[in-house]
């Protein structure tokens, strides 16, 4: 075998130096776009805010050249597909997507991959294999709710389930966690189920409609942005307030705090953090930097307990959602579902 000393020297020095090279070095001239399908609720507003906060900082520090956010007007897959095609033409290095549909954007996503663009989807993920997916373990969050209730009600309880928007995969996943929990704890009985569409007013209406036909309700399992509305429905029906599992919204936690101070109300709150958008940004940045990652990644859920309620509320702005700011270091801690 012929040895080439010069090549060896270059190669070994590159290998030696690489750990010391800063992340900024390779992505400073790269651009990332956020393609978002909807902005009309508080979670999405917080998600966009978190994106802006993280990317503004990253641009200022020279980690990335630009990171623009684009939101479609009509929450439709066709519109978002056209938007992604536009972003391809504009020459972005990576596109981060919160998708209107898991499958309908696959064509446009494939085009982006073929054009050498890195595609990272989060929250509303896409199934196209070339894209990366960051999602919360929604099934586990459903199971976590039931685990909490099993501890709270060792002698069994009547439970009303508030589901999200029918036909959306997230709703199916959380629901499957709830169902698994009901099988695990046979004395937790789900006596009714309504769709609250992740909206306080829709949840209030749906709960008020089914409540007259229900026996005494001990607890509510929810999907976020519906607990406060459900509490309103119980109050106006003049029924005792059950243990409502909340979804980390400020109004829900404030209401919980008020009840806690007044009568020792106990509960639990769990939801995905809207700052998952900043995590997606860092994943895209790391991929642009040449890092290898599995295509499916799990982001952790954020939960609030009876003891962490006050710290969680502190500094939480009105209309906000409990969140955590992700840095580039958090990317390394992400697990893939198979390892989970």
């Amino acid at each position: 075998m012929k040895i080439r000393p010069l090549r060896c020297l270059f190669l070994s020095s590159a290998l030696l130096l690489s750990p010391f090279m800063q992340v900024q070095a390779d992505t400073a001239d790269k651009t990332i776009a956020l393609s978002n399908n909807y902005a009309g609720n508080s979670w999405r507003q917080n998600m966009l805010g978190s994106w802006k906060q993280t990317t503004d900082d990253a641009v200022k520090k020279g980690v990335i050249a630009s990171a623009d956010a684009f939101t479609t007007g009509e929450n439709q897959a066709t519109e978002q597909a056209a938007q992604i095609q536009n972003l391809i033409l504009q020459g972005y290095s990576a596109i981060v997507i919160n998708a209107a549909s898991p499958t309908a954007l696959n064509g446009a996503v494939k085009q982006a991959c073929d054009a050498g663009i890195i595609v990272v989807s989060f929250d509303g993920i896409v199934t196209e294999p070339c894209a990366y997916r960051i999602s919360m373990d929604f099934k586990q969050s459903g199971l976590d709710q039931m685990d909490y209730l099993a501890k709270r009600f060792p002698n069994g309880a009547n439970i009303l389930e508030i589901r999200g928007l029918a036909g959306v995969s997230v709703d199916e996943q959380i629901h499957s966690g709830i169902v698994a929990g009901a099988q695990k704890y046979p004395n937790l009985k789900i006596v009714g189920s309504v769709n609250g569409n992740w909206s306080q007013t829709a949840a209030q209406k749906a709960v008020a409609g089914i409540l007259p036909s229900l026996p005494n309700i001990d607890a509510l399992v929810t999907q976020g942005d519906d607990g406060y509305g459900a509490a309103q429905a119980f109050m106006s029906a003049g029924r005792p307030t059950p243990t409502i599992i909340f979804g980390n919204r400020e109004e829900e936690l404030s209401w919980w705090k008020k009840q806690k101070d007044a009568n020792g109300y106990e509960s639990f709150s769990i939801s995905s953090a809207p700052s998952i958008s900043s995590l997606a940004f860092w994943v895209a940045q790391q991929l642009l930097d040449g890092k290898q990652m599995p295509h499916d990644l799990l982001s952790p859920a954020v939960s609030v307990t009876q003891d962490s309620l006050e710290p969680a509320l502190k500094g939480l702005e009105k209309g906000g959602i409990v969140s955590q700011v992700y840095s580039v270091d958090d990317v390394a801690t992400l697990t893939s579902p198979s390892a989970h």
């Binding site: 508080s42 009714g192 007013t201 007259p212 209309g319």
Partner: protein, 320 residues
Amino acid sequence: MKRVPLLTTVMGKPWLWSFLAALLIWIATIAFTGGQGAGSLLSGSLSFSAFFVIVGIGQMFVITTGPGNIDLSIPANIALSGAIGMKLMDGQPGLIWLGVVGVLGAGMLIGCANYALIRVLRIPPIIATLSASFLLQSMAIAYGRSIRIQPPEMFYQFCTGNIWGVPFLAISVVLLAVIMGYVLTRSIYGRWTIAIGQNARAAELAGGHVNLIRFATYVLSAVFASLCGLLLAGFSGGASLSMGEEYLLASIAVVVIGGTSVAGGFSNVPGIWGAALFLYLLVSMLNTFGASAGVRLILTGLIIIAVITAVSGRKSARTA
């Protein structure tokens, strides 16, 4: 046949169908639960239907003015008005008047803007009000950042309270419906609205101020939607961005199920109440039966088709 006299009465009043459907569904629900919760179900349906009725009346006047006239800005209007109302009231009972005045003013401005797009820029109403809704929704997002300001206690009590199980809100909206029913069928404005819907050209030749009437109608619809947004925010303990969402289709559905002609020119107010009760009770019934979301949507669609067919069956029976 024995049924014929009843049938002809029903045929003569299209709105009776929606009340009949609502009653049947209520009985079916009560039968399922063995009589439990009959009263509170009715009380709840009166509360929630009141919101549908407010926007439904506004939408009905718009639809009455003839083919192509529709107000799609209602959901965004509701979101914006709820936010404006809660912010102006700021949780203080002394500022309730300011919230009410501010919201009604916002409604009038929105109505004027809608009609300016339609008339001055000559944009078809369906596009004009839809694009207006984008502007309004964006304003609601920008303005309502600090959402969920609690309504003043007194306002909250008005929106959620009841007397012998009958919500204050339902009583007020029944009064409003009676007044608007009178306006539609007895007042000069109402009669011109119907005339324009039947034939705008003929109405114009007969001396009707077509543009003025349409202008007033779009303002009316926007003001009612704003009012609904304010009351809804009071009812659910604060405004939220998504609270108007379901009112786009619902505002049209209650008008059509209530027996108003989509082509315009033939309208009635009582039917809106029947249709609103019907829609709420229908979803509650399917929830009570424990139907899954898929089955629920299919049944909702089928039952609505059945009721609309029954309503239009009356028209063909009349012409036959």
